[in-house]
Symmetry: D2
Subunit: 343 residues, 4 copies
C-alpha cells in the first residue's frame, strides 16, 4: 500500500510500505481522510521540533478517519464497513497515569505519527493502518469522513476548554487563529462564552474566525494596540486560549485579562518570557493543556449532532499522490487553514 513518508526535512515521498494484520482486539482501518497538523508540518519543514527529531523514516498524520476493512478476534464495538474516526492515542492502560484517568500522560504512550520514541510510531497518511478497537470510534449517522477527521484537533480544543473550567458567561480571548485557535472559538461559543475576541498576525484566518463566531478580531501586526481598550480597571477577559505558542501573544494577553483570569496554553512554544510581577499581582493562572482523553469521543458525538460547523476550516482536499503540494499549501497561512489528504 501507499503512504506519505518523511525521510528528512523537505524530503517527503509517497511510496510503498508494508501491511499489518489486526491482532486480537485490533481493527484495520481503510483511511479516507487525513488532516495536516502543525506537528506534521514541523517534521516536514524542519525535520522535527525542539528535541524531537525525525531519526528514521516516518509516516506522519494523526487527524484521520476512514472505514473498517478488517477486524481481529474478539472485536465487538465496530464491524467491517463502519465509518470511524481514529483516535491516534494508544496508552498502556496500566501505568499510574492511565489508572488515574489521565492516559494522555501515559508513561508508555504510542501516539500515531510521532517521532518522540524510537522506533517512531507510524502515523495515518497511508491507505490502511491497524489500531486497537478502542481507537476506532464509530461515526454517528450523517457525519462525513472529512468532517470526522477534525475530531482530533477538536478534541484538543475541547480538552483546552475542560482545563479552563466553566466558560458559561465568560469573556474569552483567543490568541492565534490557526486551526486550534479557530476550533477553540467554536468550542468557546458552544460552551456558553458571552463574548469572544480573537487575534492573529494575518487577515485571512481572522476572517474565518469571524465567520466561526468571534465577535471581534484584531490583527496585531496591523494594529499592535488593538487590545489596549481591554486594559482598563485591571483588565477584561476571563479566559484566554493561547493557540500561537508565541511569547508576544502571551505578553499581549496578560494586561488584557482580569485578576484571576485563566490562560490556557495550547500553543507549544519554546522559552518565553513572563512578567512574574504582573502574574502575581493579578493572580493570573497559566495552565498548560496537552492533547485530550475522553474528549475525542465527545468530539465525534458532538460533530455528529451538528454542534460544530467545521466546514469553513477545510481549505482544500488534496489527493495522497500530491502530498508534497498539500504540505506546501498547509504551510502557507495566507492561503490555508486546514488541508486534508484524500487517501
Amino acid at each position: 500500500m501507499k503512504a506519505a513518508i518523511i525521510h528528512a526535512a523537505l524530503d517527503l515521498r509517497v511510496s510503498e510500505t508494508g501491511e499489518q494484520d489486526p491482532g486480537p482486539g485490533e481493527v484495520e482501518v481503510r483511511i479516507r481522510a487525513g488532516g495536516i497538523c502543525g506537528s506534521d508540518l514541523h517534521y516536514y519543514q524542519h525535520g522535527g521540533f525542539g528535541t524531537i527529531r525525525v531519526r528514521e523514516p516516518i509516516i506522519p498524520g494523526h487527524e484521520i478517519a476512514g472505514t473498517v476493512s478488517r477486524v481481529g478476534p474478539g472485536v465487538t464495538a465496530v464491524a467491517v464497513g463502519d465509518a470511524v474516526a481514529v483516535n491516534p492515542s494508544r496508552p498502556c492502560n496500566h501505568c499510574r497515569f492511565c489508572l488515574a484517568g489521565q492516559p494522555r500522560h501515559c508513561l508508555d504512550m504510542r501516539f500515531m505519527g510521532s517521532a518522540m520514541r524510537m522506533p517512531h510510531v507510524q502515523g495515518g497518511f497511508r491507505e490502511r493502518l491497524v489500531c486497537s478497537e478502542a481507537q476506532a470510534i464509530k461515526l454517528p449517522p450523517g457525519l462525513s469522513i472529512q468532517h470526522a477527521a477534525f475530531a482530533e484537533p477538536l478534541a484538543v480544543c475541547l480538552h483546552g476548554a475542560t482545563q479552563a473550567g466553566p466558560l458559561l458567561g465568560s469573556r474569552v480571548l483567543v490568541t492565534g487563529t490557526g486551526p486550534i485557535g479557530a476550533l477553540s472559538i467554536l468550542v468557546a461559543r458552544q460552551a456558553g462564552a458571552r463574548e469572544i475576541v480573537a487575534t492573529d498576525l494575518a487577515d485571512a484566518p481572522l476572517a474565518i474566525a469571524r465567520g466561526l463566531g468571534a465577535d471581534h478580531t484584531v490583527n496585531m501586526r496591523a494594529d499592535p494596540t488593538g487590545l489596549d481598550r481591554f486594559h482598563a480597571d485591571k483588565g477584561y477577559f476571563d479566559v484566554v486560549f493561547e493557540a500561537s505558542g508565541s511569547g508576544a501573544a502571551l505578553a499581549a494577553a496578560i494586561p488584557a485579562v482580569r485578576p484571576g483570569a485563566v490562560i490556557v496554553q495550547l500553543g507549544i512554544g519554546g522559552e518565553v518570557a513572563i512578567p512574574l510581577n504582573v502574574l502575581v499581582a493579578k493572580e493570573i493562572q497559566l495552565r498548560g493543556s496537552f492533547r485530550f482523553d475522553q474528549e475525542f469521543a465527545w468530539a465525534v458525538e458532538m460533530l455528529g449532532r451538528g454542534a460544530f460547523d467545521v466546514a469553513p476550516l477545510l481549505t482544500e482536499i488534496v489527493p495522497l499522490d500530491e502530498a508534497v503540494r498539500a504540505f506546501e499549501l498547509a504551510g502557507d497561512r495566507s492561503r490555508a487553514m486546514k488541508v486534508q489528504l484524500a487517501i
Copy 2:
C-alpha cells in the same frame, strides 16, 4: 511621635512625624512590634522595585501589632487597651472587586507602607497610627504582640495555600526559604501535606526550614542537581510554593513536578523565562498569589490557638531608634530570617 522614614535609597531616618485623630469607625493603635518585609527592604536598599519608586518620604512597615490607644465614634469591635494585629489593607468596599469578595484587587486600595500611589500610603513603623475598625483585629488570649506581627506574612502564605487548592496528602516543594517560604512550610504542614521539600541558596534559612517541618532540604548552590531524583516518571511534586521570585528556582521546579501540578507563585520577580513546551506537555498550572483577604483573620485566630510556631523565625527585636541597623541586619540572609522593630 517618632517614625522610621525612608527618604531615598539608603536614606532611612528616625524622626518626628504628625499625629492623626481617629474619625468615625476608626481607631488609633499604639504600635509595639513591626516586622521588616522584603518590600520594606527594597524601598530602603534600592528606593523601590520595578516601576514602584519612593517619590516622597515614606514610613515603611505593614507587619504590625500593638494596642488600641483611642477609638473614634461608633467603634464597637475593639476598645482602648485591646491588643490587636493591624491588617494593612484598606479597600474601598464598593468597587467591583470589593463586591466580588476580592478586596485584594480593589481598584482604590490603600495598603500601608506602599509607594504604589501618590501620595504614598504611610506605613506602620511609627508610634501610633489610625486605621479603620475593621483593620484592627483583636488578639486571642495568650498571643504575644511579637507573634501577632507575623499575621500579615502568614496571611500571605495562607492565601497562597488557598490558591493551591487542597493540600491534604500532597507532596510539596517550597523554593526559597525566606520568611514567606518558611511560613509556607508551616502552612503546608498545617494543611495536611504528606511531604515537604525546601530549596534555597543559603544554609542558614534551610536549617530553620528543617526545624519548621521540611522533611528534606536542598541547597541549590551547593548541590545544583539535588532535585534531579524527583524527575523520574514525569515528576514528583503535586504543589510548589515558589517564594524566591527567581527564574532559576522556577526552572528547577518544573522538571520536578508531576503532570497537572500547581505552582503557586508568591515571589515577585521580573521577567522570567518559562519553557512553554514543558508547561503544556505536563499541563502545569502556574498561579499567581497576591496578598490576602479573609486569611488575615485566619492567621490571627490560628496563631492564637498555637497552630503555627513562628518563634524560630524571629531573629532579633531591635529598638526603633536603631532602625538602620535593623534594616541592615534584615538584608543579610546569612544572619537574619525576620527582624522586628520594637516601637
Copy 3:
C-alpha cells in the same frame, strides 16, 4: 396607576396604587411585560408557600421589563426612553454576603414581589416602579421587551448551571419541564451538554422540551420505568437539573446518575426523603441553587445575541386588566408554559 394586587388566596384585583419618585441613583421604569412565575401563583392560589404567607396586600411580579420613564439625580447608566429588564434583587451591598460576591444571600435583601419580609416588597405587575440604577439593565439592540422579561427565570437557570460546574461534554437529565426546567434545557445545550433527557408528568411541556433541544423525553406518569435503561453499570447522567421540587422526581433521578454526579436542586419543595446509603455509595452531590447574581446581566446580554430562543415558551400575552384570567391560565400546565401580562 394600576397594579395587580393579591389580597389573599384567590383574591387578586387590578386596582389603583400609589406612585413613587426616583431618588438619587434611582430610576422609574414604565413596565411593559411581566411573566407570571411559580411563586406568584403560590401567592394567588394558596396565599403563600411554607412559612411565607401573604400578610398584607402585595403586588406580585418579578419577571419584568419596560422602558425608563424618569431618572433620579446622579443616574448615568440609563436614560429616559431606554428599554430595560428589571433585576428584582436589591441587596444591601455591605453585609458580609454582599462583600463576598454573594448578594443573593444578602442579610437584608429586598426582592420584588416577595412576602418574606414585612412590610412586603411590592413587585412589578403595575404600570410604573422605582428601582436602583443597578437594577435596570439596558437591553441590547433587537431584544424585544417580551423576551427580555425572560431574563429573570433564565438567570435562575444560568446560576443553576454555574452551580453544576462545567457542562461541556456532559449528559444531562432535567426533571420537571415547567419554565425553569425548559430554560435549563436551553442553558445546558448552550453550555455544551452532549445529551439532554427531560422528564415530566405531562405531555404538553415535554413537547416544548423536545423543541428546545431535549434529545429524549419521558412522561413518568405514562411510562414510570422510562429511566430504567439508564440504571446499568451504576448509572448514566453526569448532571441533573431538578426543577420540579418533587421527591418522586429526585428519587427517580438517583439510580439514573453515575457515581460522582451532581444534582442541582432548583425546584423548591418541602421535606423529601433521600436514600442516604445510595447517595453515599455513589458519592452523589446534591447542590441547592438559589436565584442568581451576575447571571441576570449574562441573561440579558446572551438573549440579545440570540443565544437562547425563548419564543416557544411564551404561551400567551394577557392584558393587565385580565390578570385573573392570566393567573388561572398560568396555573394550568396542560395549556400554559409561560404567561405574560401586557401592562
Copy 4:
C-alpha cells in the same frame, strides 16, 4: 488456621478455615491486629444491613495489619517479614471506573469481609490471608501494627476530607463521634480547620472527641438546642462531616451551616427527610463520600510520621478467641470507641 466466622445474626464462632497459597503478584499476610467496624457489627448484630445480608458464613474484618509471611512469584514491593497494613479493596483495574482514577466505584470490586456479592468476599479476622501485592502497604519505621490497623477507617476520613474540598481556615461541624467522626476530627485538624465542633448523643465519645481536638462538643440528647447559637445570620459552619447516618443529625446540622456550606455524608443511613427549600435557599451541598482510593496509602504514611494520634481511640485489644466478647464490647458505645482483635 483459625478465623472468626459469622454464620448468622448473633452467631459468631472462632473455628478452623482453609488456607490459600499466594499466586503471582500476591502475598500472604500473617494478620496481627484487626479493628471491628460498624459494618462488621451489623453483620453480627443483625445479619446484615439494608439489602446486604449474610447468605453464607463470612469472615468479617477489613481494618487489618500484620506481617508478610509468604510472597508469590514476581512480588517486588514487599518481602517476607515486612510489617504491612492491608488495603481491603481489590478493584479489577480495567473497568471504566478503575481507568478513571475511581477504583472505589469499580464494577467488579472485591472488598474484604463484604457480603455484597456471592460468594461473599472473606475478610481479615483470621490468622493468614492472601491479597495482591498492591494491597499490602509496607509500614514506615516506628508505626505499630495496632496503629496501622487504623489506616482503613482513617482513609475513609481522609477521603471524606478530599470530598469536602479545602479545609484550611474552615469552621467544621462533626455530627456523630464514633470512630469515623472521631477520626474526622483528627483529619479536619490536620487539614487546617480553624474551629471544630462535634455532636453526639453520648458523653463518652464526646470526651474522646475533645481530647482529639474538638474545640467544643454538644450532647444533643442532653442539650437539644446546643447548636442554636450557630443559627444566626444564616448559619456558621463551612463544612459538616456527618458521621452518624441519622436523619436527626442531618436535620440539626442544616440550620447551623452558612450558605454554600458542604455537608460530607459519611454515615450510611437509610431514607432520611431533607428540607429541600432550605437546601435550595442556602445552596447547601450534600456530598456522599464512599470508602477511599489513594487515601489508604496517605493514611499509612501520615500515621508513620505521627500526623494522627489514634491512641485515644483504641479502647481494648481482645484475643481472637474472645471474638464474641470483642463484638459485644464494640457494640456498646458507652464503653467502646474502637475494639481490636489480637490475632
